[in-house]
């Protein structure tokens, strides 16, 4: 009976492996071809800019306090009014702002970047493609 359980389990696992392989191959292809959206930059580009980048963390305060990119400033939509003052105090006009959120399809970074451009009239604001997940994965 136990052998039967494992035999059937193995068959189910192999059956799941086939569509997963196809899906994985397709997504690798998709990932290669995925273009940058307007205002996005890749991690490699931001790294090349080195100290000329000011990282802006658009995630929640809890996540920021747990861990963040070194020297990143916290600025999110939920606490915009209270965070924008300290952000402007720390902002260096010579640096390029790169905003990030969790990664995947999170939209927080795009919203914060848009608000920096519109409300604070600051140009040269980019969004990190892949967000924190891209940084954490390297």
């Amino acid at each position: 009976m136990i052998a039967q359980v494992f035999r059937q389990l193995a068959f189910v696992c192999v059956c799941a492996l086939l569509p997963a392989l196809v899906s994985g191959a397709w997504q690798l292809q998709w990932k290669k071809e995925e273009p940058l959206a307007a205002g996005e930059i890749r991690l490699a580009t931001a790294r090349q800019w080195g100290d000329a980048v000011q990282w802006v963390d658009a995630r929640s305060r809890t996540k920021y306090e747990r861990t963040h990119i070194p020297d990143a400033l916290l600025l999110n939509e939920d606490e915009w009014d209270s965070l924008v003052g300290p952000f402007l105090d720390a902002w260096d006009a010579d640096k390029t702002l790169v905003v990030y959120c969790d990664g995947g399809s999170c939209e927080a970074a795009h919203k914060v970047a848009e608000r920096i451009r519109a409300d604070l009239k600051i140009g040269g604001v980019y969004v990190l493609k892949g967000g924190w997940a891209a940084w954490d994965g390297k």
Partner: protein, 162 residues
């Protein structure tokens, strides 16, 4: 245990795993693959040593959920499929409990992309209910398979001579 109860449990488990799997494969709201978001969700648990493992798991696990959900209705695979959903439920419960223990503020990722942070007590209760349902179905499938094996052995044995 009534057959109707087992049928309802089987149907409910299949529905839960099918929906959870499909929503981790494709983001219907945004119209693209949900794998990157599920990879982020897995990474946020900080249980795997390499990010590449999170990506591989994010590709494979949803399909295992879908295939196991469908196999629950295939008589010759139901026992193995029940073992698969039982194992996955146990792993989900362990992962969520561990995240709560470590004080992580994360989104569950149980049904694809979720913006809200996990409400641990509710989620653990839900996972416990899922584990109980899987255990119930596993016991029922085990008994059914054992009974079928016994009757098959009995019918294969030569009839005693009068």
């Amino acid at each position: 245990m009534g057959r109707k109860v087992i049928a309802v449990v089987r149907l409910a488990l299949a529905a839960v795993f099918l929906v959870a799997g499909v929503m981790k494969i494709w983001d219907f709201k945004l119209g693209h693959s949900a794998t990157p978001d599920f990879t982020v969700a897995i990474q946020s648990y900080h249980l795997l040593p390499f990010p590449e493992l999170s990506a591989l798991l994010a590709i494979y696990l949803p399909w295992l959920e879908v295939v196991a959900a469908l196999a629950l209705f295939v008589r010759r695979l139901a026992l193995g499929a029940t073992a698969a959903v039982l194992g996955m439920s146990a792993v989900f419960l362990a992962a969520v409990t561990s995240a709560w223990w470590r004080g992580l503020e994360i989104a569950c990722g149980c049904f694809g992309k979720e913006d809200a942070m996990t409400d641990y007590p509710t989620l653990i209760l839900r996972d416990l209910a899922l584990l109980a349902a899987c255990s119930l179905l596993f016991v029922a499938e085990w008994r059914r398979t054992a009974t079928a094996a016994e009757s098959s052995t009995a019918s294969a044995s030569p009839a005693p001579e009068a």
